[in-house]
Symmetry: C2
Subunit: 376 residues, 2 copies
Amino acid sequence: MSAQFSYQLSSTSGGARLGQITTPRGVIDTPAFMPVGTAATVKALYCDQVKQTGAQVILGNTYHLMLRPGAERVAKLGGLHKFMGWDGPILTDSGGFQVMSLSKLRKISEEGAAFQSHIDGSKHMLSPERSIEIQCLLGSDIQMQLDECTPFPATHDEAERSMEMSLRWAARSKTSFGANSAPAQALFGIVQGGVYPDLRARSAEGLVGQDFHGYSIGGLAVGEGHEMMLKTLEQTTPLLPTDKPRYLMGVGTPLDLIEAVARGVDMFDCVMPTRSGRHGQVFTWDGKFNLKNARFAEDPRPLDAASSCPAARDYSRAYLHHLVRCGELLGAMLLSWANIAFYQDLMAAMRAAIAEDRFEEFAAQTKQRLAGGPAV
Amino acid sequence: MSAQFSYQLSSTSGGARLGQITTPRGVIDTPAFMPVGTAATVKALYCDQVKQTGAQVILGNTYHLMLRPGAERVAKLGGLHKFMGWDGPILTDSGGFQVMSLSKLRKISEEGAAFQSHIDGSKHMLSPERSIEIQCLLGSDIQMQLDECTPFPATHDEAERSMEMSLRWAARSKTSFGANSAPAQALFGIVQGGVYPDLRARSAEGLVGQDFHGYSIGGLAVGEGHEMMLKTLEQTTPLLPTDKPRYLMGVGTPLDLIEAVARGVDMFDCVMPTRSGRHGQVFTWDGKFNLKNARFAEDPRPLDAASSCPAARDYSRAYLHHLVRCGELLGAMLLSWANIAFYQDLMAAMRAAIAEDRFEEFAAQTKQRLAGGPAV
């Protein structure tokens, strides 16, 4: 636990950045995709499988973990890494996003987010200070300030008020982080401002002035659409320092990742690969397809014979189709695994393309291939 | 695929038998417990995990597989072993039991069991001949005759009529097996007769006269109770040849297994370890307990620090409790794995005790320990 948190930009290819984040628990090659370990488990995967896919960092959800099993309990049991058996870096979100999306009764005020648990109705207050306290109790390596994820659509006035409160919460988070965190932990500020360039600019400026370890881009992929997301990204990343990592929260599809990397994003997380896997959908170099489809019933080929992931390489589509049709847990297990492996392979391929300064060509070819659909 | 099916009795300890079944796909040390791979998957486990627990043979359900994905389809895809990725021996049941327990509309006649699928209502006829044909299409190494699992309670007359039809079905199954099977495959007859010693005797005599590769004991653990099951076993196993394996179908708890081995049974199958695992229950040397229980919420100990199974050894009870409480798939995965491992450890310990002719002592100590409950 001696190394400090740091980010090193190695090279660029167009707007895409190749870099490395160093944490006491290991390095993270960027651009990186973080599998989501919502409630202290990447759903349906063993930790060693997650690691074997190449994932170097996972995400934990503060909202879920504060409710079950509770942050104090995790701390008592030795922290989140020990609790779930993952010894690599862990990034935690602030809990704010899930308060908005999952809690039925919630009230946002300057103090923070008062809410009732979606599980048992118990009442909680998630303030910027409490969010940092929880993340420190969990022992995560990279933490997020509490922010308000501005809904879409929002008027300029609404987005402005929301963004400014998030900025004030950033300052309170940073103060709390200074008082609670271990030396090697890192705190990211979160850029908000909806789809309004002037607000994104003021948000970025305000955060950069507070000097965070990294900068997240929040409030996207909430309904604004792919094009608007990319436009907002294009306007936002140039406002951020080149010597700090940029994290686009909650995104996205393989196409989203390619486009966002092209616009200078370094880190991603999304439940899509695991959630889709539980519903019979797989991501491959030939696009996304649904294994429930009858055309796979007698297809003896694996998902991807060239994959290094056993789930994609060693099981026939016919068998996966059967498992999915029967609702067998092994189907969810194998498809979640294959999807996480594909996402990691995609990131590795993007990193290789940036290193060789051929990202634009790679992106064009890959987008074309992803749109093609599986060979039949 | 050169070796023939054979059984070798190595030694005995009281009524308990140590032996070995040889099949072209590997040996099975007996007494053996067969994990149930209902629909071509041992629920929530990877095949290599099943193998690592020490399991040398698994069971496939003809009823489930004939409906999904269909026996002809499995054959087209290379057989059940290849389809599911298990290269060890597979035993298949006849499908009769599930017709009774799962199908809503069914009609048993001399011809066989006409039934409607519990999945889509499609109509099927499972005759002794069709059952063998299906098992041969699946390519299982050890097959079962179609029988009628006599319900409990049944009058002597009912049990007699049912048993006699099962005997006639045995002969038809054997004829069909002779016409359809590969040289190294084996067919077991199934002793029925309810809880009536005279009927069990006539059933055993009738089957032994037909000279099967092994003999199953069916129609137990269907409501007659533990004591009546043991009493019936005691009356039945002496009627069977010592040079053939005996298989008690669908049983049971760890205590059931110990008592049945003491009475000369060699093979078992049961969904209990996997089904219980999916519901938060674990089997250990200290008995069965439910991880949902709040007393495990902060228990840092593993299920069994001495286990060779990672699921039992490397995860805290607190973490397992959390996973079970949250309904996480990893909870079902880990507990199913730990339970299958415990069942295999129990069988291995029984085999060691028979080899050293101390089975009675082992059984007494283990039963006492199993009744004790987990240390707190």
